[in-house]
C-alpha cells in the first residue's frame, strides 16, 4: 500500500431519506477502517462523535462519544479490519444553521502516526431537522 488511509462511513437507514437528520435518542451506526502504509506506523486511533460551532464566535465543541485505541495499551484494535460503531445520540444540542451561530455534528476518526503526524477523517451528520434561520429586522 502506498499511503495510510482512513475510511469512515455511516450506515444507510432503512426507509429514511439520505438527507433526513438523525433524531435525538436514535442510534448513529457506521464503520471505519484504518489502512497503513507500514504496519508499525500505527500509534493510536480515536473515534469520536462531537458537535462544534461555526460562525462569528470562537469555536466551541463538545464530545458526546470518545474511544481511543493505542498501540501500546491493552485495547484491541486491528489495523486493516472494518470496525463497526453504534452510538445513541443525545437530546441536545441539535444541528442548527443560524446567522451568527451554527451547530454542526460529525463523527471523526483521528489517526496518530509516528513523528507527531496525524490524519483526520470526518463525516458530518444532522441531529434533528431544524430549518435555517435568518436575521429579523427589528
Amino acid at each position: 500500500m502506498s499511503e495510510s488511509r482512513i475510511t469512515l462511513q455511516l450506515d444507510a437507514r432503512d426507509g429514511e431519506a439520505a438527507d433526513r437528520g438523525y433524531q435525538p435518542g436514535e442510534t448513529l451506526a457506521g464503520r471505519h477502517q484504518v489502512e497503513l502504509a507500514r504496519a508499525d506506523d500505527f500509534r493510536a486511533v480515536e473515534l469520536s462523535v462531537l458537535w462544534y460551532t461555526v460562525g462569528q464566535g470562537e469555536e466551541d465543541f463538545g464530545v458526546h462519544f470518545f474511544e481511543r485505541h493505542a498501540r501500546y495499551d491493552q485495547t484491541l484494535f486491528e489495523v486493516g479490519r472494518t470496525h463497526s460503531f453504534s452510538i445513541p445520540l443525545p437530546n441536545s444540542p441539535l444541528s442548527y444553521q443560524g446567522v451568527l451561530v451554527n451547530v454542526q455534528w460529525c463523527v471523526r476518526v483521528r489517526l496518530f502516526l509516528p513523528r507527531g503526524r496525524e490524519m483526520v477523517e470526518e463525516v458530518p451528520f444532522q441531529l434533528a431537522d431544524i430549518p435555517s434561520t435568518a436575521s429579523v429586522d427589528s
Binding site: R5, I6, Q23, P24, G25, E46, S48, L50, T53, V54, G55, Q56, G57, E58, E59, D60, F61, G62, V63, H64, F66, R68, P90, N91, S92, P93, L94, Y96, G98, V99, L100, V101, V103, R108, R110, F112, L113, R117, E118, M119, V120, E121, A128, D129, I130, P131, T133, A134, S135, V136, S138
Partner: protein, 448 residues
Amino acid sequence: MSWRFRPYGKKRGRRRTGSRQVGRLGEAFLSLLFLAGGSIALYQMLFSLILPEWRASRHLVEQSCHVIGGRVLTERSEDEAFVRYRVELQMRFQIDGQTYEPWGYEIKINRVYFDTAEEAQQIVDRFPADTERTYTCWIDPNNPEVAVLVRRGRWWLWLLLLLPGSFVVIGGGGVIYTLLHSSTSAERRAALAKKAADLDLFEETPAGSSAYPHIPSSTQVTDSPGTELAYRLPINASRGWRLFGILLLVVFWNGFSWAALIVALNVDAGEDRVWLLVGIAPFVLIGLGILVMFVRQWMLVTGVGATRIEVSAHPLFPGSTYSLFLSQTGRLHVHSLEVLLMCEEEAIYEQGTDIRIATESVYQESIYRRQGFDVLPGVPFEDRFTVSIPPQAMHSFKSPHNEVRWSLLVRGDVARWPDYERSFPIVVYPLGGGSPTNDPARSRGDSP
C-alpha cells in the same frame, strides 16, 4: 484528510482566525521564558543566600563565653575605591577543659558592614572586654574555633522566594498546558474534561441538565413560583448593570470635568483663562449629557412601575402553547403595551486583543398588544394571553462563546415617558428524549 501545519488561521464565518499552532508556539516560548528566568532566580536566591544562612544558624550550638577583646576591621575593594568596616570580638570559653579564644561576631553569610569606622566601633564598645561578664555565643561543634556572638535569622528572606516562585509556577503551568495540548487531541481532552465533570460530586447540577446537554438551567425560573400561574419569570438583569455602569461614568466624568472647571475659575491664568474655560466646556457639557441620560434611564426604571410575567409551565417546548399572565404597575397612560416572543443569537469572539460580542435577532413575534388604557396606583393592569413556541424552533443553547437565547420582551409606549423595554428570559427545550407527555416538565403545558 489533512496533516499539514497551518500557518494561517481558517475562515470562520465572516472572519479569519489566527493560527492555533503559531499561537501555541508563542505560548510555549513565553512559558519557557518564565520558567527559565524564575528557576535561575529561585536557584540563586535559595542556594546562594537563604539556605547557607539557614544551615549555618541551625548548625551552631549554644555556649557561655566572655568577651576579652574587640576590633574594627577594614576591607578595601581591589582598586581601593571602596572601603567598608566590620566588627570582630574575641570570645573565651572552655569545652572539655580546653580553652578556646576565637575571633568572630556574626555568621559570615549575613555579615553586616558599616560605612564608617565610628559606627563599627560603637558595636565594639557595646561589648567591653570583661571576664566577669558572661554572654551566650554560638559555636561550631566540629570546630570550636568558629564562634559568633550574634546569630541573626532573617525570616523575611523566605518571602523573597515568592517572586521567582510565582514565575516558576506560571511558566511551569504554561509548559504543562502546552505539552498536554500538543500531545493529545482536542477530542480526548474534551472527553477527559467531561468525565471529570461527571465525577464532580459537589457540583450542583440542575435536574435534567445531563439529559439535555448545553441547554441553560431553568432553575432560576422554577425557583420563583407565581401568584396567578406556575412560575414568575425573572427580569433580565443586564439593564440594571447598564444603569450602574452609566452611574459610574456620570460620577467619574462629572467629577473630573467639574474639578477641572473649578480649578480653571480659581487659577490666575490672566487672559488665557478664557481659552482654558473654552477647552474644558465640552467636557462639562458631555458630563451633563450623560447625567441627563442617567436620570432618564433611572426614571424609566423607577417611575414606570414593575412589570411581571408569569408562565403556566417551564421549560417550554417547541409546538406547545402556554398561558401567560402580565401585570404592569405604576401611574401611567399607556398608548400601547406589546409582548414579543424573541430569539437572539450571541457570539463572543476575539478581535486583536479585544473581546467582542455580536448579537442578532433571529425570531420575533408579537404575541400580545393592547392600546390606549390607564394604569392607576394600587390598581395594576393585568391580563392573560398565550404564547406558542414555533414547532421547528431551535432550543436554547449555551456554550462558552456561543448562545441561542429565548425571551419575552415587554415593550411599552407611555404618555410623558420614553418608550421602555423589559426582557424576561425563558428556556426552550428540544423535543425528544422520550415521549413529551411523560415529561413532567411538559405536563404543565396547556396544549402539548
